[in-house]
Symmetry: C2
Subunit: 300 residues, 2 copies
């Protein structure tokens, strides 16, 4: 069966510590968080690499979430990341990174993925993002996410691929860094000037901004009293967003606003638990309830 | 004629430098910014102190904006503040403060102010805030603003007066500091637990949050590409808010949501110019246009 939504990114095993607990060797990675979030709306195929040490229960998890893993190559040991969140929970401090098989990642895309209508280039090497994008046969709607590491180390490659995508997602810090301005409105407009149709700037607890040539949308965040582990919330936001776009097959500005809110619903649920534990407590009904709450918290 | 809206706070002469220019000896102070913003909706009476050196053109300004200054005592020299905003424009660095006559401020409230239905205790000494509040005869609706300085130096006095007010306004940093938590939702709820009916947490470029016992509202900010001088934007927000409440004589949660948006419209206009220059370019029609824009930027 052909795949409508393809997600390129990492599969990893994480050790995470926050003021509310710690976990070791749990499933993580940008593609995993994104595909899991998307799975509330759409089946996706993941292009990634993992090691033979990836615990069987995690393969089972992909199966349960109906995530297609034919695009995951298995080789050597799985990428590992160790992170720490301190008092303010705003940014992860990376304690250790072991690239392992990720250093040999070539982004091999199965043939039955190549006609997908939606492609999410989650955070990974911009050269692999470009390579994957170039392979696609039917000009999919492409969403791209990145991180400060690539802005610093491969800005030229990153800008090259950004110019090819339809929707660029940056967080606050990345937007300021990439466009060298403290003003997010300016940063958003500069991103549009690269030729991208839509730009989203994620602001964590402060919501998200959407820019397009003649429109602007400011989304609130879901009010969370207890953030347990922010790992993967950003990937869950984008995954939920593109999952909703793929399901509705509608990339109008109006529908992207809705997709942003659905992405925020899933990201907020994700941050309330460690790793991907939220999926055990969350179903589409809960997400729709949060969506309804969002309507209320912004009415005036 | 009796006064319906009373504003307690400072009158000052400011020297301000930002990356976009500098001004010297311009009109400022919490009560002045607040009363000016309120003047788009309501006449207010200011309780403050200024020096005999306050330039005549500023007295003329009060007259033009129909701000009643019978509550301003004139004595010695005017309070002066010198501030600098650097690249990120988020926080003023205080270069110099000369208290001058402000050190003798006693908050004398004219008799014809004492039956006011609305009282804004703008940023000033919490002991004077309490003194003013206690004098009022007809249990007005009271809004209180403060700053980190009072949280550090007079927390007990501040908490005492907070418990007497109807609506508490804090900025992000103050909320985190006062309730010793990085989580703004927790901070808002702790503030409500003090017995305050409404709590607003201002987040500058990220908008504002409103908490009440069974409601939550998240207001966006107005998208500004060019912030020239943030001085007084917070006071303008609260002044616009209480001016609108006084005009409509409605303190329901629903109307406070609207008042927050009107306050944000005025605060955003204020930040686009130095000092109070914005009033020359802004009328009620412009403010209502911004209000309409706010509806659009949050629709989904």
């Amino acid at each position: 069966m052909n795949i409508d939504l393809v997600i390129l990114g990492t599969v990893g095993l994480d050790d995470v510590e926050t003021p509310f607990g710690k976990v070791k060797g749990v499933l993580g990675g940008s593609a995993v968080y994104a595909a899991t979030a998307a799975s509330f709306f759409s089946k996706s195929g993941v292009v990634s690499i993992a090691g033979h040490d990836l615990p069987k229960q995690y393969l089972q998890f992909f199966k349960e979430r109906k995530i297609d893993i034919d695009g995951i190559e298995f080789k050597g040991k799985t990428f590992r990341w160790q992170g720490l969140y301190e008092f303010d929970m705003n940014e992860a401090k990376t304690i250790k990174t072991e690239l392992n098989s990720l250093s040999e990642f070539e982004a091999k895309v199965p043939d039955r993925y190549l006609d997908a209508k939606f492609l999410f280039l989650a955070n990974t090497d911009p050269v692999l993002q470009m390579k994957t994008l170039s392979k696609m046969r039917n000009k999919p709607f492409v969403v791209l996410d990145t991180m400060n590491y690539w802005i610093t180390s491969q800005k030229a490659d990153l800008l090259k691929v950004i110019k090819k995508v339809d929707l660029l997602v940056l967080n606050e810090g990345e937007a300021r860094q990439l466009f060298d301005t403290p003003n997010l409105i300016k940063a958003g407009k500069q991103a549009l000037a690269l030729g991208v149709e839509y730009v989203i700037i994620k602001k964590g607890e402060h919501g998200a901004l959407l820019f397009s040539s003649n429109d602007f949308f400011s989304a609130p965040s879901y009010p969370l009293e207890q953030v347990k582990d922010p790992t993967g919330a950003g990937d869950s936001f984008s995954g939920g967003l593109i999952g909703y776009l793929a399901k509705t097959d509608d990339t109008s500005e109006k529908n992207i606003r809705k997709a942003i809110i659905f992405g925020s619903c899933i990201a907020s649920a994700c941050a309330e638990s460690f790793s991907l534990d939220y999926v055990r407590k969350t179903n589409l009904k809960n997400i729709k309830e949060r969506y309804h709450d969002f309507k209320e918290i912004r009415r005036f």
